[in-house]
Subunit: 376 residues, 4 copies
């Protein structure tokens, strides 16, 4: 099976945070490969980043799009104000796009882009990452299939605390642009994380928000945009949705989740415990916790599961960390510079200790629990 | 940065379970690449699997080891009885090894292998995957650094239920070899999962088990090996360790974890909630829950974290699922066969809906909570 | 110490649900005694209930109030529409009142009653039971003392599912009056449980709600009152409060709790896990779980704690159940009728078994873990 | 219904810890009354305590037993060494006994006492309080009724940390006698809390421990008895039980619970979350959390439930705290001394605020969410 060839617009070099996240996700399955990119704002720095990543570099997105590279899709992970133009360019060239959220900076741009997607029929995926969680997908299947009946009420939320103080004044780059109307658009808290709560409410239920009554607050003095977002919505089936988000909830990191109440049952999910889905049915007073990988998953989701029941998806990162220890060890041995110290993960001696322990335990058990010395 | 070139012994084709897990972990960071393998027991099937994976195939592990391929390390993920010989071959050739657990089938083999590793100084890592969890690493750092004082007592456990019935008689391959002394060695439950509990007790504390009193049970009739394992151990500092495991705990998937009690505090971790570490200090009666990615992590662990606070490691799989949707879409469009159906992850229209929602909410808030229609 | 003498208006006989709850709470400490009551709506049934309870009966509340009985306080636990008149009568007679919520049926009555309390200075306590939870009291102390700084945002909620269907049509008495405007007043969901969420928001913070934007829904057809309640409020310090409640959340029993976000930290509590308070301070990224009975409790709350750390308050009911087993046994032996079957709680033989077990364990440990027979 | 008349041996005055716990449990239901006691070791102090409690005092237990008082049962809550003699005296007089655990100080005494109970057929209940938790009772019903099949393995534990240091040397009375062989008997940790773990293993399953292999540790220097207890047991059906306890687990208060694995399913309970029972059945991969008061409870347990679903038993203490506020207020007004300060629980003004809030919310909702001022 040939690997898919993927290009990237934005995403910087090896140290870039969100570029790195996309690259890891892109490479995870070993079936997709990053081959080319226009990675930064200037030609020079773009090319330098490409060298660091070992891929073909282009000076800007138009060069990449027009390069003639055989690309199966392009990932756009630029700042919000730089989604529209490259997305449009890709789509017009017929190249599928996986674009970071929000889709564009303005409603006007989004209308145009959605129109192009519709007309050109080029695949376009918006990186609302949480919708990739198997449990969120399972929740959607259950709701769409009517397992909880008609939806009456939705609560979806996203609470963070990192903007509780004026950190944009002390050099926090992630904060700086989010509170700046020029770069973030109409809303800070609503646009950044309220949209996740909004997407959960819509995507999981298949319903649409039709009317809204909202109260946005700016608690930290001097900010031009909201840092707290509260909305009561009407869905297109008459249901009510409470869609809330805040960035001033000290100590909360990514308290993102939803509850959905239907005429037959209820569902509850939270991303900080993403491997579980709570389901409450009828009047039987039983509460189910569904764990990742279990047999409930319908055929539509099974291709997205990578592990058997009881192993949460982070098992892969844990194993990858052992590969990383090997990588650090090998690179160090090759004389590469700036390699982090390899962590002392178990080695052959540890394996031997385990073997001796089991042998001694088997012996002790055979001798009715006699204490057996484990040879050193 | 050049990708590391990795070989694989065992691991089968694209559908193989544990080979697939290793391949995903191997590719996760985009800095390592599987390039060659001796993937199955026969030459023919090995070569076929390599074709499917798009890598260079070899007929058996000796061919691979002697091929002259430039390999940075080799992953061994064969059955337990086929760890020793290939591991030895790699090490003698100077090729670093990342080997699945248990290290070998017998203590004798393990002694020999540990000796070679020690003598040759070739890197060897044993895939006790749980030791790669950042929280388990953090627990180790805290204990080793004396934060909970001298260790007095350890409880470590691993409870599963999948062998509660005689499923080896009904064609469950994973069960068949584990209950067969020829292929599994001295112990089923102890060897398969008791070793994880044992490794946790040793690796996290830096202590060694020196004496053991054990009771192994075989609850399912007809089995030749244990399906339940209980041991009370003495550690080399005089501490007591309870190391237990069972495979007959119906409904338990991978209830693996540990508690460590020291003279200054206690620690608790469980793999089914791997992103949290519970710490109890002194007599202050406060309990801390430490979440993944937080500032506590010492420099020794930071290189192993891929995400900021509050995002558990499975965030990467969630995002990878969006890439997967794109992959399925693209491969289908290319006319490839047997591609699973792409899941309807958010697209441009969904992004547009979000933009409209935020704009309407901002408007409503500006009008003191008036209900604002969201344009369709 | 002389027991306080307590009277009761409403509350019925031994089988009455909420009368029974009050009587248990009243008797819990052994320092208060129910001595007299006007327990039901008619004279005859009132007197009969009093006989059953072994207290002095009165035909109606005026008889009780004017009886000249020495009463330290009176508990009013009638239906909502019958709080005002007896409360007024007690207060005018100078008798302290512990009254079930809501305080009255109408705002007008409540204004008058609050006026009398203020003028007469007679003690009046409203039975918002949740405010009696030590952890909710501790939360209040922490907020009032400024430990989380200035309050910015409050979320308080109460989710139930028991009115998800039209159960008032099938004879559920508790449902019947709550959906009847004559007996329940202006609101069903808001009045019944929204008030708990509202009280939490006010009482814990010491703030007052000053403006509100609300959406009440009636999801079950044919109802005259709301079964779902959503409000965004402004507090008198400018904070925003989300106060929500629903009775259509299938499977939710009493999902009642609050989160409070201040300029220095956050607090979280839920009545379904009432023995814990979650506290998140500053930017230190640590989360504390405070367990019942611990040393944190300030002097103002300590008199309200009955147990040491780690024992939740339900320990008392567990012990009371052993007394109940004794009671059932004794009453049965006396020939009393309709006594439930005594549950086989541990007896002397069980105690003996325990003694033998410990003796055998001490012996085994002395013999290095030898298996020791426990005599039958 | 006449209240039962209860006597008490030991239990001290109003400030006594465990005497107070028994008195609260005794009075909880309002159907039992403490009337007489021999409360302390000396005649004088016994009589003084009785005066403080407002009951009839006796100089010692023989005086009480022979007093001719009409007593329905007697509670014995003396130190361990003073259980046997009074229990024997009561039983020989035909008075039912509810006795604190352990049943006696020595096995010899326990044999004799169990013999008397058997011969005389006088009710005797041993205060293993945890067996009174409805969820522990439900667990027992489920196991006894075969719902989880034949029991294969039991884990029961009790972890505390309060004896992690040498606190008996610094005046901690509760610690002093527990580490003293004269007063505590053969074992400290095993006898004090290991017995709870042992009782859980036996009582919930109806099985008996028949053989044991144990390791007891004394971690704190200078102690004569164990502060850590570990036992592997054989049950009379061949099952294995791990029965463990420790008092050196810093930060753990009363981490007491059990897991039971049968041929058809598993059960799990912990006293620090006593209102939940986790049940895992067959291979269906579903996990149920059963909450207190739900419909599952069989007829044998229903008489022991005091509240409806979703209200945990501590609801009663919360309500009792409001009665306590009233009590403090009333006693203070009467001029009684040393009354703690009444906590500001909600009063009429708070009730009025709630009424106004609901009225304003109803108005706002009627006006499509317009912001409505709540009158002050």
């Amino acid at each position: 099976m040939k690997k898919l060839r993927v290009g990237m617009i934005g995403g910087g070099g090896p140290q870039n945070f969100f570029g790195g996240v996309h690259r890891r996700a892109l490479h995870l399955d070993g079936t997709r490969e990053l081959v080319a990119g226009a990675l930064r704002r200037t030609k020079e720095s773009s090319l330098a980043a490409a060298v660091e990543l070992g891929i073909t570099g282009y000076g800007d997105y138009m060069e990449l799009v027009n390069s003639g590279e055989e690309l199966d899709y392009i990932v756009i992970t630029t700042t919000n104000d730089a989604h529209f133009a490259p997305a449009k360019a890709c789509l017009e060239k017929g190249i599928p796009v996986l674009c970071e959220k929000p889709v564009t900076l303005t409603v006007k741009e989004a209308v145009e882009l959605a129109g192009i997607v519709k007309k050109k029929k080029v695949p376009f995926i918006l990186a609302h990452t949480y919708t990739g969680h198997p449990m969120m997908m399972l929740a959607r299947e259950m709701v769409i299939n009517g397992e909880i009946g008609e939806v009456r009420k939705i609560e979806s939320w996203y609470n963070q605390g990192w903007l509780a103080d004026n950190i944009e004044k002390s050099g926090a780059k992630q904060a700086e642009w989010r509170v700046d109307p020029e770069r973030a658009g109409l809303s800070c808290c609503g646009g950044d994380i309220g949209t996740h709560a909004h997407m959960a409410a819509r995507w999981v239920t298949g319903l649409e928000t039709v009317r809204v009554s909202a109260r946005l607050n700016t608690f930290v003095k001097g900010r031009k945009l909201d840092d707290d977002f509260n909305a009561i919505c009407e869905m297109n089936n008459g249901a009510t949705a409470l869609i809330t988000a805040t960035q001033i909830a000290i100590g909360y990191k990514n308290d993102n989740g939803f509850k959905i109440y239907g005429t037959k049952g209820s569902l509850e999910w939270a991303q900080e415990r993403s491997g579980c889905l709570t389901v409450k049915f009828g009047r039987e007073d039983k509460v189910y916790w569904i764990g990742a990988g279990y047999d409930y998953f319908p055929a539509s989701i099974k291709p997205y599961l990578r592990l058997p029941a009881g192993h949460f998806e982070d098992f892969l990162e844990a194993l990858a960390n052992l590969h990383l220890t090997m990588e650090f060890t090998v690179r160090k041995a090759k004389g590469e510079k700036n390699i982090p110290k390899a962590y002392p993960h178990p080695s052959a001696g540890d394996g031997l200790a385990g073997m001796k322990f089991i042998a001694a335990a088997v012996k002790s058990s055979g001798e009715k629990g006699a204490w057996v010395k484990i040879p050193g």
